[in-house]
Point group: C2
Chain length 145, copies 2
């Protein structure tokens, strides 16, 4: 009765982009991009991860690296103490998801963010997100994270 195990193993072997080693590499790329760009606010260090395109789905940012550059510049100028704490990282295929607690000032309630990045050949090429303010009161005691 080990058959399903071997089928699963064969599937895992065939699923090129889902290799554990690739997923870990993709996660490392996205986490480093995020840390460098949004926490260290070092655009140039983050920008080395951009691929030949950067398709932006965040409706507040212009398409391409320029939109990200402007956001990093804004954070650096207006919210130098802002911090994005990565709570969990989830990867499959060419996608990496970050669940993040973002604050503009230390101690504020901040915002819950889920970012989705697409990674191709070790480069970040696309980004989606959903951003929600952490409310003052909640219907449960579990926090948003």
């Amino acid at each position: 009765m080990l058959k399903p195990l071997f089928v699963a193993a064969a599937l895992a072997l065939l699923a090129g982009p889902a290799f554990a080693a690739d997923l870990e590499a993709n996660k490392k790329i996205v986490v480093d991009f995020y840390e460098k760009g949004l926490n260290q606010k070092d655009y140039d260090a983050a920008a080395k991860y951009f691929g030949p395109r950067y398709i932006q789905h965040n409706p507040g940012a212009a398409n391409g690296p320029e939109g990200f550059k402007r956001m990093v510049g804004l954070l650096k100028e207006k919210f130098p103490a802002s911090h994005n704490e990565i709570k969990r990282v989830i990867a499959e295929g060419d996608l990496v998801v970050l669940h993040v607690h973002s604050t503009r000032q230390p101690g504020e309630r901040g915002r819950a963010i889920v970012d989705i990045f697409k990674v191709e050949n070790g480069k970040i090429v696309e980004h989606w997100d959903a951003i929600q303010d952490v409310p003052e009161k909640a219907a449960n005691d579990n926090t948003m994270f």
Copy 2:
């Protein structure tokens, strides 16, 4: 030079929860739960996927299955034509992420949602999300999806 491939394969074999077959099963559970609960608005059909606990991090919902039940009831009563369109599904380990376009009335701009579910032994035991209104105007032409 096939060594890295075999290391990756060995890792994939060892990583029990990351088996492709498990991930596909977990995705199927979460997608069916979502379709039954939020689109068909059939709480009982969705509730069969609840495990011994349901830890709710959505700040608007009470902890446990009861909070979800109330939400399904509300949708059924106030927004019977509401629809949550799943745009992408991303799974790793015991987590399944859904990227969703949610509308309460057909044709409205709606909201971008990213849901994260934890699945244990084929049952849904925890949920986080971030929800953002799709704005009327965006700084890029890529949509939020």
